[in-house]
Symmetry: none
Subunit: 212 residues, 4 copies
C-alpha cells in the first residue's frame, strides 16, 4: 500500500484543560458514530466536527489531519482489546491449557462484542490510515502475553512457536471480523465463542503435543 506514507500522526496538542479533554472525547466518539451511520467513504472531517458539536477548526487543533484522527481512534480501540486479553492471560497462569484457551478466547470475544459497533466501523479504515502498524503492535503484545502464559501451563510439553500463536490470533480475529460484519446476533456470538474455544484448544493441543 503506497498510500498514507509520511504524515505526522502525533496529536497536535495534548489536552490539558478540562474543556479540551471533553472536546477530544467528543470528537473521537463522533468519528465512530459517523463511521457507523454514514460509512467509511462518507466520513468527512466536517461531518465529524458537526456531529461532535464543534467546528472543523477545533477538530484540526487536536488532530493534524484526518488520518491522524482515525489513527487515534483505532489505537484507542485496539489498546482496550489488548488490555483485556492481557489481563485474562495473567489470570489463567498455571492453569491447564484448555482453561487458558477458554479464558483468553472469552476475554477477546467479550471485549469485541461489547464494542461490536466500533469494531465493525474501524475494520475498513484501519488499512487506509496506516493501522497495520497498530495491528502489528497489538499482535506483539498479545503474543507475548500468550507465550508467557503458556510457559506456566502444566500440560504443555512443546511450546508453540511464534508463528503458531500469531496464526491462531489472526484466525480468531479474521473469523471474528467475518461474523461481526455479517451482523451476527448475541446468540450466535455465544456459539462463536464456544467454537473459538474449541478451535484454539484443539489447535494448540495438536501443536504442543506434536513432538510426542
Amino acid at each position: 500500500m503506497p498510500a498514507a506514507a509520511a504524515t505526522p500522526f502525533e496529536p497536535r496538542k495534548m489536552p490539558v484543560q478540562a474543556r479540551s479533554t471533553v472536546t477530544v472525547e467528543a470528537i473521537s466518539e463522533a468519528t465512530i458514530q459517523v463511521l457507523l451511520t454514514h460509512g467509511s467513504d462518507r466520513l468527512t472531517t466536517t461531518r465529524v466536527a458537526e456531529r461532535a458539536g464543534v467546528s472543523v477548526g477545533t477538530l484540526y487543533q487536536y488532530f493534524p489531519n484526518k488520518a491522524a484522527l482515525l489513527f487515534a481512534v483505532i489505537q484507542d480501540h485496539l489498546e482496550a482489546v489488548a488490555d483485556q486479553v492481557e489481563a485474562a492471560c495473567e489470570r489463567a497462569r498455571n492453569k491447564p491449557l484448555d482453561h487458558m484457551m477458554r479464558e483468553m478466547v472469552e476475554a477477546y470475544v467479550n471485549v469485541k462484542m461489547e464494542r461490536a459497533d466500533i469494531s465493525v466501523a474501524l475494520y475498513n479504515v484501519a488499512q487506509d490510515v496506516g493501522g497495520s502498524v497498530l495491528i502489528k503492535r497489538v499482535m506483539l503484545r498479545l503474543r507475548k502475553a500468550i507465550e508467557a502464559m503458556l510457559q506456566t501451563a502444566p500440560d504443555v510439553e512443546v511450546q508453540p512457536d511464534r508463528f503458531a500463536i500469531e496464526m491462531m490470533l489472526a484466525a480468531m480475529s479474521g473469523a471474528m471480523r467475518s461474523l461481526l460484519e455479517a451482523g451476527g446476533s448475541a446468540a450466535m456470538m455465544r456459539t462463536l465463542r464456544e467454537h473459538f474455544v474449541l478451535l484454539c484448544q484443539s489447535y494448540m493441543g495438536a501443536i504442543s503435543a506434536r513432538r510426542n
Copy 2:
C-alpha cells in the same frame, strides 16, 4: 454499512461475449495494477482507463460506474478462488478427513498465493463496494462443497454443522489476509499452509468426534 446502496452493478451492456472482449479484460487488469501501484484511495477511473490504454468514455461504456468496475474485478477473483477449492473438494471425496482438509487447504492457499497481489489489492475495496454480497456467495459455495465432501468421509461420525464450517473458512481467510498484508515470503507461505492444514484437521477432528 449503509454506503453503496442502490447502484446498478451489472455491466451496462453485455453483447454475446462482451465480457471476454480484449477491452474489458484490459480494464480489469488495469484496475488491479492501479490498485497495486497507487493504492485504493488513488484509484481513479481516469487513471484506470489511461493504464488500460483506452479513454474514460470507453470505460464507462462497459461499466456503469466505478463501483460496478470494482465489483466485477472482485467477482472475477472470488470466482477463481471458489472454482479451485470446489475442484479440490471433488477430488478428495471418499478420502479420510485429514486428507480432505489437506487437499482443501492446499487448494485455497495455492490459489491465493498465485494471485497474492490481487488479493491484497482487493481486500480494501471489497467492503466499500458491496463486496460482502460476493463474499457471502463464495462462502456459500465453499460451504456446500465442503459439506458434500465431508458426507463421503469414512472417518467422520458427527457431521460438522454449517456454523463450524463457515467459521473454519472465516478463520482461514482471516489469517490468510493477515499474512498477505504483512507481505509474507513464499517460504512463510509454505509454513502457513502446513499450519492451516493442522488447524483445520484438529478443529474438524474435534468437532466430528464431539458426541463420542
Copy 3:
C-alpha cells in the same frame, strides 16, 4: 525565501485541439484581469475560472496548481519583454553608444507601457511563485544581447563588465516598477523614457571610458 519549493510547474496538458487553446488563453487572460481588479491576495483559482467562463476543474486540467498558473502567465509576459528588447539590440548594432542606449531603453519602456497593467499585476506575485528563476533567465538574455550589441559600438573603448550591465538593467526595471506602481501618466512615461536614456547613456559612457 523558503516558500514555493518543489512544486511541479509544467503544464499538465499541451493544448492540441482548437478548443483547448482558446480555453488556456482565456484562463491566462482572466488571471491578469482578476489580479488587476481584485489584487494579488484575492486571486483565487475559483475566481479566475469564473472570470474565464470555465469551471475550476477545467483550469486544473491545464495547470497543475495555482503557482503553475501564475508562473506561466509571468513567463509569457517576461518573454514578450525580452523579445522586444533583443530585437532592438539587433537593430542598433554598429551604431554609436548613445544611439544604442536610446534604442534599447525605448524598446524596454514601450513594451512595458503597452502592457502596463500586466506588469503591475505581476510584480507582486512573481516572488511568491518562484518567478525569480524567470527573472534571472530574462536578465541573462538581455545581458547577452546588450553585450553583443556593445561589442559592435565604434565609440566604446572599455567593454562594460557583466556586473555593470546587470546593474543598469536592475536599476531601469526597478525605477520602472516604482513608476508603474505609482500609476504614472503617459506623459510621465515619456519623460521617464528620456531620463532612462540619459541615465543609461551617462552610466555606460562613464564605465566605457573609465580606463582612459
Copy 4:
C-alpha cells in the same frame, strides 16, 4: 492595488511609551524572524505570537490586525533607512556633487546591508499591506533631503528637478532589491556600492550640466 482598503492601521492602544514596551518590540522582531524562516505566505499571527513568546490574544492587544502589524514593522525599517540617509545628506552639505553622491549612496547601501535580512523579508509583504504609502513617504523625505543638499553644491549649475531625483532613488532601490534578493555576497555589495556611486554621479552630473 484595490486590496487592503479601509483597515485601521494605527496601533490599537498607545499608552505613553507603549511602542517601546518589551512586548511590542518582541512581536516586531518575531515578525521578521518568522518572515525569514517561514516565508511570507506562512506568516501567521499565531506563529508570530509563539515566536515572540506571547499569546495571540496579546498580539491583538497591541495590533488591531495582521496588516497593522506588518505595516508597523515596515515603517520601522523604512524610517531607519530614511534617518541614515538624511543624516548623510546633512553631513555632505557644501561639498562638491561627487562627494555628495558618494556620501548619500554609501549611507543608503550601508544601512540596507546591515539589515539585509529584514529588507529581503519585507519586500514581499510591503505591497499587500499598503506599504506603498510608506514608501512614498520615505521617497518624499529623501528627495527633500537631497534637494536641500544639492542646493548647497558649489558645482551644480542646473538644479535637478523632482523627477530626476526620484528616478535616481527608484533606480538605486530597485537595483538594490535585485541584488539583495539574489543573495549577493558582502564583496559584491562593495562593488555594487561603487557602481551606484558612479551611476549617481554620472547621472546627476549629466542632468546638472544639461543646459550648459
